[in-house]
Each structure stands twice: as C-alpha cells, then as structure tokens.
Symmetry: C2
Subunit: 418 residues, 2 copies
C-alpha cells in the first residue's frame, strides 16, 4: 500500500471518529429510520449488488477457490432479502443507548447516574461473507457507533457495492456521512494499520476464522471483542434420566454440528458404563457420529480410540469424544482443563450435583438438564447477536447490542467541592 | 532468570488457578474471616515487617534512590496500621460474587440467570509501594480471586515479608494455600513471562507509572485493567455563577494537584474575558499556580504563554493551562481532542448547556457544577477502588470490587432441546 493508501486508513478512521460524536446523540427515531432506509435500499439496488457479486464470484472461481468458500461469498436475491430483513429486525430491538444503568445520590447532594453510551467507532474485520457488511453495520449503528468495514479481498466488489447502498441510504435518513465506511483495500497492511489506530477506533470485532482472530488479538492496540471457539461438554451424572440424557446428547451433537455451541465431548459417570453408555454410543453412531472413546468406551463396537488431542478438539462435524469419569469432581476438572469454557451441561436429578456443577464449571454458559445449543442471542431473547464471547472481560456469552456500548458517569451538582 | 526461575512463574500461576477454583465458591464469611485474620496478623508481625523494610531502605539509599521514591518505599508502624485498617474496610464491603445481575424465563421454560462470578486469577504488577501488596490482595480476595503479586525490586524484602504474613493468616482462616503468592524475583523477565500466561491468569492490574502500564498493555496476552492519566478540564460557560466558577476551579486545581482527577486545563467562554477571566487567573496565581495561557489569557499579568503541548499535559502539580473558547461546542471539541477523557466539568446555569455538555463530552465522568475531584471510589460510595479507568471496555470510571469480577450465565432446564 502506498503513502496515499496509508493516509486513507487514518483519514477514514478520523472521519469515523467525527461522525461518532454526532451519532452518540442521534435519537432512536433517526437511527431506526436510517436502518429502515437501508433495508428498503437493498432490493432497489439489487441488480448492481448482484452484478458486483458476480464479478467477485468469477474472480474467485478463476483463482480456484473451493466450493464452501464460494458458497459463503455468493449473494442471490434471497440472501439480499435476508440482509434487508435483518436490518428491520435490528430496528425493532430496544435502543441500548441512554439507559440509566444505576443512579444514586451522595451525602453531599451530588446526583450520580451511570448511563449507557455508544462505544464510539467500531472496526469490523471479516472474511468472505458479504452479509457481515450489512449485519455488523446494523448492530453497530443501532448502538450509536460509527463503523469501519474491512472485508476480505475475495468479496471486495460485493462489499463496496453493499456499503455504497447502505451508507447513502443512512445518510439520506439523517445519519452523519461517515457513519458507515469501508476500507478501499483489502490487503494485510490495511488491517495492520487499522488495529493500531486506538486514537480513533474504540473497538475491533474480528468476524471469521481462528487465525484472523488470533492475529488481531495478538497485535491490536485497540480493544478486541471476539467470538471464541466452543469445545462444549455434556456430562451425564450417575443419577441421570436415561431418555433425557440421550435426547440432550443427540441434540447437542447432531442438531447443527458446525456451530460453536454444539457438543464436542460427552462425559459419562462410571456407574453408567453398563446401563447407559452403550445406548448413548450406539445412538450417536446411528446418527452418523464417529465416537472417539476413552479406554473403557473403546471396548464398545465401532469406537475409535481417543488420543489426548481429542479432548481439546472442536470437531465442528459428526465426531465426538467420549470419556468415562469417576465422579462429578472429575467431570468438572476435565471441563475446566480441556474446555474452551463456552457452554457445558449436566444431566442429573440431584440438587447437589446441579449446584456444584453450575458453581464450579468456569464457562460462559452452564446448563442443568438442557442442550448446550441454547447459547445463542436469539434463544436467550436478546435478538441479533455479534457472536458468543468466551472472554471474561466486558462481555461473556451471547453478545447483543449492549456489548457494543460503554457506560459513563454523569454527575449533577450544585457547586460541590472537596 | 534461569530455567528453574522460569518454571516457577508458571508453577505459581498454575497453583493460583487451582486455588481460584476453590476461592470461587468460598463463602463470604470465610473470605471476611481471612481478611480479618490478615488484618490482625500485620501488627503481630510488625517487627519482622519493619526489619525487612529497613533492609530495602538501606539498599535503596546505597543505590542513591531519590527522596520521593524512598518515601513511597518506606513502611513505619502507622503505615502498617493503615494496611491493617484497609483490610477491615474491604471485609466490610458487600461481596459482589453471587449477585444475580439479571434473570428471566424463556418461552420454552428455561430459567436463565446472569450471575456475578470471580475473574479467577488476578496478577498485580507494581513498583515501589509495599502497601499495594496488601491493598490489592484485599480487593482481589474479597472478589473471590487468587492473586499473584509482582512488586518492584526495591521493595522485594518488604513485599515478601508482607506476603508471608497475609498469606499464612488467610490460609489459617480457611482460604486455599495458593490464594496469595508473590513472585520470588523482580526482574523484567518475570513480568515478560507473567503477561503471556493467559492460560492461567485472567486479568492483569498494573499499578504504577505510565511506562509500566504502557509496557504491560502493549505486550500482554492477558486482559489488562489500568488506571488512566487524567488531563481533566473545567469549562466555565458564559452564564456561570462567578463565585461557583472560582470555587470549583480552585478546588479542582489546588486541593490535591498530584492526583488524576485534578484539573489541568481551564476553558473560559469568550463572554467572560473581561468579567471573570482576570479574577480566575489571579485567584489561581494567588494559590501558587502557574498559568499557561492562550493568546487572550497571555495579556493578563504573570501568565506564561501556552504552547500546543500544554493542552495535552497532565501537570500533576501547581500549573494549569487556560484557554478562552468561543462557544460550548468549541469547549467540547477541545476536551474531546486534547483530553484523556477522565473527568470534566461545566459551570453553568443553563439547562441546555448542561444537557449538551454531559451528552457530548466523551469522558468517564462528566460533571455539571461540581469539582472533578469527586471521581473517586470512596466519593462515589463504592468503598476502596483499584483505580480509575479511562478505558471504555469492562470498567470505566472508579473501579470498585465489581471490576475484579466477571459474569456467567447459569441455565436451569427440564430436558429442553432445540
């Protein structure tokens, strides 16, 4: 990237900071009108968007890009329709900005309010999916933030076309001009510049594979909000209801195995080795799941021996690691050692076991007698989510609009001094 | 540091993680008993603590360390008494752990609770003040965390003596053995190792100068909570009450100029150039404050011309930058451009100006008609504080016990699957 290009990343960030000042005090009505205008504009500009995407698709095919990546890159009328619908869904969510989180009076008469405010400027770094352009912008804007979009090079034409349509619509509806901007280049250097611009950018949201996230986290001076990997566990306690244990195990593993809240390891209490373990293993196998088993589990038909790496693996597919544990304490120890501390569940009838499991498992979401698959902004009733955080600071678990906000103190006095 | 030393930083962190599991579910009663036992143990071991400090002081004097640093390093009976009292104050604070922050039921009958939990392992990196050993440990422990202490090399003997006393007292009162540990070395390498141990350490709290904080922030893979610098502003609007403007300006600047919530810049509306500015400037000068003035302010007697760097300077002493601004908007623009976004105040009688200032100033604490000096955990009614954050993520403004906690979701089901 030449000098002018380097300048432009900073110029874009500086303009975003300026826009964020005005966005911070924009009324909910204007923000919602902007989101509605963006929603309307997408189908109006359908032909241009599809044409831009066709150019990206052709270039990607010429490069020999694989089918699953091509699918992520592809936009058709239905997908533009989904983006358009998502904008209206975000418009319908409550505005997090302005919430008085806490408020009190001090003995000397100061009235202190802790108020929810926008983060400021949010940078989104993503890969091949052009829908992130629209979905991430909708959430950032609703939370009162300016957004800087840096999509992958494969989707460049699609992203610029989408950004042009939604940013013009937002501006016409009353949002500041620089509320929504895309970087004009998708090279590495643009990311390297962006993640050091803590003067202007308040938060980075990397959306994509583990490698992207790790690169951003390791090198950014801007705070990063990321969705963590999910090595989720189902633990079947000695007193579990057998039908419930089977239903939850199967649901957690096979209902949608490619997502972060799907189960990757099944832990079974030793008391159940003869009574339930064979049923769970054969049910998993009947659902097409390859079972990687501990020494005890390996004695069952069709089970592949598990190696140590299996306990740490997020298969994201029809495979599961199964281990027999001697006690609740061993199960918790295994989860806290090998898990990514995303979502775990215990199947039990025992009050005590439920209390101990939920208290001692150090995960973002800890369940009793329910599938791990519920860790999701929509299922939790938050509406659209940015992702599911396994971090312990700021936002943990499903991240809704409030994850894109900060808080500040406003203090009303009448001449108080110390 | 040799191989054994490198091993030991990781061993200490691993043991801390183990202790944190037990600490997370320790009752408030046991934690408070541990804090009380630590408080009692300090005066009992007074002689040993003072002897260790005397060794540190002698070594520091032999090195030619300056007087202000020697004062920070010094412990006497009164200072040990303060540490002992601080432990009881923290014991008296409400326990943040276990708070159900939110709770609701989903349509399918899941009961979801968002519960406040300890962060896990907190690493404290500090410089010459041995009292941090005790104060930081008290807060970390009350919030259910294991703590790893890495103090400065000058205070090594003092810190190890204090750590031995409080960790033994805590263990005798029922806290896990590795709840409180100090690194046995104070070299750079021990910090470099510590800030990369995100496997075991959940949060780092650097307590000390800007250089220490910047080094930790730039290189740590562990999340960092830090207290930011305070370039705080007093803005006197055109309609301000003159007496209040003078009282607050003087209080914010001179009551304790060495702290982060003291004022460093005074902005005065142009309408007040003849009526109030001379009074404010001469009052500041009468209080021994050197005034660095903008071109208009420079025309007053004894005012030093301000250079651009003055607007960004945290003097932390009897100096102030004074600038005449044309409007409220200019004042806000100046603050958002040059400030560290810590604490700012407007002096005004106008409803509108108060609304605009509090909405548009992007600071952790924004005041109307009160001194910036109130940004403080004690003044806010939080009790002891870890510092004042100017970050926008996780904790902003005075950081009390909750800043050392995380939240997790606990979900109670009855067999729900998706």
């Amino acid at each position: 990237m030449g000098e002018s290009g380097i300048g432009s990343v900073e110029d874009i960030a500086r303009r975003a900071k300026g826009a964020s000042r005005a966005l911070a005090t924009l009324s909910t009505d204007v923000k919602n009108r902007a989101l509605a205008a963006m929603s309307e504009a997408l189908p109006v500009h359908m032909d241009g968007i599809l044409a831009a995407n066709a150019r990206d698709m052709k270039a990607a095919r010429d490069k020999g890009v694989n089918d699953s990546l091509l699918d992520r890159l592809m936009i058709d009328k239905a997908r533009v329709g989904s983006m358009s619908a998502a904008l209206l869904e975000v418009a319908a969510l409550p505005d997090p900005v302005g919430e008085v989180v806490k408020g009190w009076k001090t003995p000397n008469g100061l009235r202190i309010e802790q108020v929810r405010v926008p983060m400021g400027v949010v940078g989104v770094i993503y890969e091949a999916r052009p829908n992130v352009t629209v979905d991430a912008t909708a959430l950032a804007l609703k939370a009162g933030n300016a957004v800087i979009l840096r999509g992958g090079s494969l989707a460049m034409a699609s992203n610029l076309a989408l950004t042009k349509v939604i940013s013009e619509a937002a501006e016409a509806a009353g949002a500041p001009r620089a509320s929504i901007q895309a970087l004009p280049t998708a090279d590495r250097e643009s990311v390297n510049r962006m993640i050091k611009l803590d003067r202007y950018i308040d938060l980075l949201v990397p959306r994509g594979g583990l490698e992207l996230i790790e690169t951003v986290v390791a090198n950014s001076t801007v705070p990063v909000l990321w969705a963590g990997a999910g090595n989720c566990h189902v633990y079947v306690h000695a007193d579990a209801d057998f039908d419930m244990a089977e239903e939850i195990t199967i649901n957690a593993k096979v209902q949608r195995p490619g997502v972060c809240n799907a189960a990757e390891t099944l832990l079974v209490h030793r008391d159940l080795v003869e009574s339930l373990l064979p049923r769970l293993v054969s049910s998993l196998q009947a659902h097409g799941v390859t079972v990687h088993g501990c020494p005890t589990t390996q004695t069952l038909p069709g089970v592949v021996p598990a190696v140590d790496a299996d306990w740490s693996t997020e298969y994201l597919g029809p495979e599961i690691a199964v281990k027999v544990v001697d006690s609740l304490a061993n199960a918790i120890e295994h989860i806290n050692t090998y898990g990514t501390l995303h979502s775990e569940t215990i199947i039990t009838k025992a009050y005590d076991a439920a209390q101990v499991f939920t208290a001692q498992v150090d995960s973002a979401a800890v369940y009793v007698n329910a599938s791990t698959r519920f860790t999701d902004g929509g299922q939790f009733g938050m509406g659209a989510e940015i992702g599911i955080s396994t971090q312990k600071l700021h936002a943990r678990g499903p991240m809704g609009l409030t994850a894109l906000t900060s808080k500040k103190y406003v203090i009303f006095g009448s001449g108080q001094i110390r």
